[in-house]
């Protein structure tokens, strides 16, 4: 497997974002939560900017706004003042405090400061209104935004879930979907309802990062996983966790298993036919019901579309990049369509990327794609150039390669800042796969039509 360590010193056009950004996104999917960064204000501003330009939604991230003095003497006072101001302006139900490179380097003990704050505020307010304070350590010099995302979810379950009396609820599960689009989350919830399963989906950004236009603006958008539900996740009869590169150990799902004995079902991100089939089979097992007709029909139509699309896609060579788990899912799907994934690349470095790609391609590809982890776009380009790709699948940062090589880029994942509707991109399930498939086929038809001197209007 290719790794950045083997080649360049500089990261040139990175294919990953930083850790606290992932944490902020995860916190945003909790009802009444305000993400808070302990560090200088620039990080919060930068991350807000990126998240906002993708989702086209408000995104507040508070910051302790440390200055030089605090960088030297520690940021406790600023953190406490910042929390107080967030309390008075937002009345949040939860504040998710993530560290940044600055405060990690200084070595501020955030959990300790939060405990102290909680103690003191309890005395001051003596009311039940104090929000939950969740802290997560997110130094970007180890890990990417995805590690930050999962770390935040783990911190939330670790710090919020409690042991409750009574036995497990047979009709309740936990779903840890990972970083998907609001549209994906809405669709997943619809599927679960159709199976009659009550699920705690954590995080749930379906409304908080894709909300309606409102006459009365809400300081904290409604929606998100209710805190009450998070508290009782230990009562579920199972946890479904998406992401083959996440592994079984030390994840939110595995911790729920260890602490509350909730069985963990680790699945791949359900993109494409086979990974989605696995997801639906599991839902059948859990619910004891067959797949509802609506979804069975969607599956049927998808197969039909695979057949129709084959002539456009067969043998095309694709470069897939982005977050590891998304890339694994996309690769699995593309391989099913007859496309040949030639490179699977990610800035992430979970150590399980290659194995995951192999698991999903082993049965259908004669030749495994090249798998590169910890790489940037400079390295991706270097490898891809030798392989003459026909298609790029990934987020907006691949645009320069697509324009250089004059091949289509189908935009998925995050960030999408040069197309409209990134927050509504569907990736998962039969429906998401269908919509990706349509997009990919049309990208090929479009570029063929454009390049054709004949001017075909019938492709």
């Amino acid at each position: 497997m290719k790794s950045s360590r083997d080649s360049y010193v500089s990261t040139t056009n990175a294919c990953k974002l930083c850790k606290p950004m992932g944490a902020c996104l995860a916190f945003r999917g909790i009802e009444g939560a305000v993400p808070f960064l302990h560090g200088s204000q620039g990080c919060a501003t930068y991350m807000r900017r990126y998240i906002i330009s993708h989702f086209r939604e408000p995104m507040d991230i508070a910051s302790s706004s440390l200055g030089e003095k605090h960088a030297v003497y520690g940021g406790e006072a600023n953190l406490i003042l910042g929390l107080k101001n967030v309390l008075s302006k937002f009345s949040p139900r939860l504040i998710g405090v993530a560290t940044t490179c600055l405060t990690e380097t200084i070595g501020d003990d955030v959990p300790m400061i939060l405990r102290k704050f909680h103690r003191e505020s309890r005395i001051e307010h003596a009311g039940p209104d104090l929000p939950l304070l969740v802290s997560v350590s997110t130094p970007s010099y180890s890990g990417t935004h995805m590690e930050g995302f999962h770390a935040a979810i783990k911190a939330v379950t670790d710090q919020v879930c409690i042991a409750l009396p009574g036995s497990a609820a047979q009709d309740r599960i936990n779903l840890l979907p990972g970083f998907l689009s609001p549209a994906d989350i809405r669709y997943l919830k619809e599927i679960l309802v159709d199976f009659g399963i009550h699920a705690v989906v954590l995080p749930d950004i379906s409304e908080t990062l894709d909300g309606p236009a409102l006459e009365d603006y809400e300081k904290i958008p409604s929606g998100g996983t209710p805190i009450q539900d998070i508290r009782s996740m230990g009562k579920a009869c199972g946890t479904i966790q998406f992401g083959r590169t996440l592994g079984y150990e030390d994840t939110a799902g595995s911790r729920l298993h260890e602490r509350f004995n909730v069985p963990l079902h680790a699945l791949g991100m359900p993109v494409g036919l086979r990974e989605t089939d696995r997801f639906f089979s599991l839902l059948e097992d859990i619910s004891g019901l067959p797949t509802p007709r609506k979804h069975a029909l969607e599956r049927g139509r998808l197969i039909d579309a695979f057949v129709d699309a084959h002539k456009y896609l067969f043998g095309k060579r694709a470069v897939i990049y982005g977050e590891e788990d998304l890339v694994v899912g996309l690769t699995s799907f593309l391989a099913e369509t007859g496309i040949r994934p030639v490179i699977c690349a990610s800035g992430g470095r979970s150590g399980r990327f290659r194995e995951a790609v192999e698991q999903v391609t082993r049965d259908i590809l004669a030749e495994s794609p090249m798998v590169c982890d910890g790489v940037d776009f400079h390295e991706i380009a270097g490898e891809a150039e030798k392989l003459a790709p026909d298609l790029l699948v990934g987020h907006s940062k691949g645009y320069h390669l697509s324009s250089r090589w004059k091949i289509p880029l189908v935009r998925v994942g995050f960030p999408i800042h040069d197309r409209f509707g990134g927050q509504r991109t569907l990736h998962v399930g039969y429906r998401g796969t269908q919509s990706l498939l349509d997009g990919i086929v049309n990208a090929f038809i479009g570029s063929k039509q454009e390049d054709s001197p004949v001017g075909y209007g019938y492709m």
Partner: protein, 552 residues
């Protein structure tokens, strides 16, 4: 003149007392915070010769308050050096800071040939890992510089420090100096750690100081042209600089360098050969003009290309400086040829926008400059403020001696500059300067935003998210201008929001053609019917909101 901000035929606009608004906003803050904000929220008393009130600016943002401001690194790497196409910029730090500043501003560049160096689409970072934080990152930085050199062979490489770098004590300047000697190209570093200043403004200063120290004056080649100027503080967002260059070119005025829209390393290195410095954004660059005057003898004037009227005024002012009737005539000719197209659209749009209100909270000069464009279509700015400007940008340069220097400003190095023994050449002798002044020509003139705004307008420095929300609820302006971070929160409330940092993918808005673009854009935004559909038919209830009567 009483104007209702939102026409509501069957309800009399209720008069809003600004003192009440101010008090209401402050009351919701804890005492200490309220005390600080009270100095940053003031009611303008300008107009009619009254002195403008004092405002607190360029002080630290209160933790936990959602601010518009970015960091020192953002100002240095993103804003100032970002738009230069042929310097390889290496961010020394963890991956995020570099990623977030990777072409996120819409500064444009136009290389003369496809083969010309253009590194703008690249984002280099040392992507520090745990071991670099623990053992120091100088070694990695050195290797990164060497690598960039070997791959690209650029004219220059610059290094930007992010927060952790300052903490672990990497000596970026020594690395730069050694690598410069070793490789024989210009290499320089910036200590622009994000925590250094109170906002991106500190980063502008650090960047400009660096360019002045390491680049300006290196190349004495004079560009051809009788009237040569530098355009300072213009960043070519949405192609503004292209439009300005077009107009200046038509007038026969040569732009030696732009700091830093559509700029190159060579432009910076012979900036000292120009005969006049013209300043667009006073905040981000006035000190460079001052230093260039001391060292090279180039006078500076404040100009503004935002607004058709302002553009005409600026051209006349430049012509006046050169005191050449030929140029003056040429300028009049150009203005006369450009204005009819502008006026046609302006009058048409004005008929639909007259009397509507705007709020501008952005930047260090834009919140002032764009008022001009709104005025041209009859719109009134009822409230404005800067994101990162200083007191002189509000109150005018005459208060400069009164500005208190705090620890944060002391953090930013003030360069000590002397006349250059070979290159100092006063462009005007003392008699000429005096005569021009007598005739009413003003050098180094910036009276700030407040004196340009009517009395009874609300001026707010470093506005917070919460204050923005309250303002909108109370005043219901026809349009609100800020940046992308504020955009969707404001639009959720049913108020059109125009981004004045990245222009919402629009632009140019500078110069004559830019003015036309802007009029059309504002017309489209304030006259769209979509907002009336926010409530579904089954939810419609009589609108209840206060109007605002405004007295000039």
């Amino acid at each position: 003149m009483a104007l209702s901000v939102k026409e509501r035929p069957d309800s009399e606009p209720e008069r809003i007392d600004l003192n009440d608004v101010r008090q209401e906003i402050l009351d919701r803050y804890p005492t200490k915070v309220a005390r600080k904000r009270a100095k940053q929220i003031v009611i303008n008393r300008a107009g009619g010769g009254a002195e403008v009130p004092e405002i607190e600016a360029n002080t630290r943002t209160i933790p936990g308050i959602i601010t518009q401001r970015g960091c020192t690194y953002a100002g240095c790497k993103g804003v100032i050096l970002g738009p230069t196409r042929d310097i390889v910029n290496i961010t020394h730090g963890p991956v995020g800071c570099g990623f977030y500043s990777w072409l996120t501003r819409r500064n444009q560049t136009r290389a003369s040939t496809p083969e010309d160096e253009n590194y703008m689409t690249y984002c280099f970072s040392t992507d520090m890992q745990e071991e670099d934080i623990v053992f120091g990152g100088e070694k990695k930085l050195r290797a990164a510089v060497l690598e960039a050199y070997e791959i690209f062979r650029p004219k220059a490489i610059s290094i930007f420090s992010t927060c952790p770098v300052g903490l672990i004590g990497d000596d970026v300047h020594t690395v730069a100096r050694e690598m410069k000697e070793h490789l024989g190209i210009n290499i320089f570093a910036f200590s622009c750690e994000g925590y250094k200043g109170v906002s991106q403004s500190a980063g502008h200063h650090i960047a400009n100081n660096g360019i002045f120290t390491h680049v300006v004056g290196l190349d004495d080649t004079r560009k051809e042209g009788k009237y040569s100027i530098n355009l300072l503080g213009e960043y070519n967002i949405g192609g503004d600089a292209f439009e300005i260059e077009r107009i200046l070119h038509r007038c026969g005025i040569t732009v030696v360098s732009t700091f830093s829209g559509n700029s190159t390393y060579t432009q910076f290195s012979n900036a000292h050969t120009a005969d006049l410095n013209t300043i667009m954004c006073h905040r981000s660059i006035n000190y460079v003009a001052e230093m260039m005057e001391t060292r090279y003898g180039i006078p500076w004037i404040k100009i503004n290309f935002i607004g058709a009227g302002a553009t005409a005024k600026t051209l006349r002012k430049i012509a006046r400086y050169f005191e050449d009737p030929e140029l003056a005539d040429r300028v009049e000719e150009i203005i006369e040829s450009e204005m009819p197209d502008v006026e046609k659209v302006r009058d048409e749009v004005r008929a639909r926008c007259e009397g509507k209100s705007a709020m501008l909270f952005v930047g260090g000069s834009r919140a002032h400059h764009y008022q001009e464009l709104f005025r041209e279509i009859g719109m009134i700015t009822v409230s404005a403020g800067y994101e990162f400007a200083h007191r002189d940008d509000y109150e005018g340069r005459n208060i400069l001696p009164d500005i208190r220097v705090d620890a944060d400003s002391r953090n930013i190095e003030e360069l000590h500059v002397e006349p250059d023994p070979e290159r100092y050449r006063p462009r005007k002798n003392p008699e000429e300067l005096e005569r021009l002044a007598r005739e009413g020509f003003r050098f180094k003139d910036y009276d700030g935003m407040m004196s340009d705004m009517p009395a009874r307008t609300l001026i707010i420095d470093d506005i917070s998210q919460y204050e923005t929300e309250r303002l909108i609820e109370i005043f219901k302006p026809a349009i609100f201008c800020a940046a992308i971070k504020e955009k969707y929160a404001i639009q959720k409330k049913g108020i059109p929001m125009k981004q004045l940092h990245s222009y919402d993918s629009g632009g140019p808005y500078a110069g004559f053609r830019g003015a036309v673009n802007f009029y059309r854009e504002i017309d489209r935004m304030v006259n769209t019917k979509i907002w009336s559909a926010i409530k579904a038919p089954w939810q419609k209830s009589p609108e209840l909101s206060a109007g605002y009567a405004w007295n000039a």
